[in-house]
Amino acid sequence: MDYVNAFWVGGLICVIGQILIDKTKLTSARILVFYVIAGCILGGLGIYRYVVDIGGAGATVPLLGFGYNLSKGVIKEIDESGFIGILTGGLKATAAGICAAILSAFVMALIFDPKEK
């Protein structure tokens, strides 16, 4: 059942992105930024948690989940370390994703050349 929920919740989040692209001509970079900010705010308000409860990976795999992780990390770090958590929490929680992205991008750039258009 969690596979079905991941499918439709994740699919629906992508449909919202598709409507934004088709109706507003937002570029994909703007969509990504918009989703991260939205996920962070929804996480901070304690709303996105419920979407994650329903959708599982369907809610955490889209970039909204990245934003949600930022807010979750910052709240956790503030609970554990106090004030300094405001500065450390966000990047700590998302470090693995960011590090994997730039590391694998670097390796791929060394291996592959741009494809002919």
Binding site: V15, Q18, I37, V61, L70, I86, A105, F106, A109
Partner: protein, 147 residues
């Protein structure tokens, strides 16, 4: 009634009859591909949990594996093909973020390792990280004061 119809009139009629068909079609494609990527994510999460990872760690493994897979597909030139079909279905998941990091890194390698690859690798990741971290700091300040 004239049965002759110019191509323009016909196009007009088709347009009126199906004003939303491209967007509906795009949405269906985005739904299916986005849904499949998230389902793969759920499979990875469940496998990680099966081997004893906490919910949080399982999520991290899922992100990392999807990011690396999308990066390799980008290097092979396959992710852009998926993107042409899937639209937002391939942009919105974290695999799309990975693609937006790897793609300029490969593209701008020829402009040098520092200001080419090194700088352009962050052309999309930069704004995402900047505004994401900025928002998280605001959330943190609000939580610190009122939480």
């Amino acid at each position: 009634m004239g049965k002759e119809m110019t191509k323009e009139q016909y196009d007009e009629m088709v347009k009126k009859a199906s004003p939303n068909s491209p967007i509906v079609k795009n949405c269906i494609k985005a739904f299916i591909v986005g849904g499949i990527i998230c389902t793969i994510g759920q499979i990875i999460t469940n496998i990680a949990k099966f081997y004893g990872a906490s919910t949080e760690d399982a999520g991290t493994y899922t992100s990392v594996i999807l990011v690396i897979a999308a990066s390799v597909l980008t290097g092979l030139g396959l992710y852009s093909k998926l993107g042409k079909f899937a639209g937002a279905g391939s942009i919105v998941p974290i695999t799309g973020f990975s693609n937006s990091v790897t793609s300029p890194a490969i593209e701008f390698k020829k402009e040098g390792m520092i200001l080419g690859l090194g700088a352009k690798i962050f052309i999309v990741a930069g704004p995402v990280i900047l505004y994401g971290v900025l928002t998280s700091v605001i959330v943190g300040i609000v939580y610190y004061i009122f939480g």
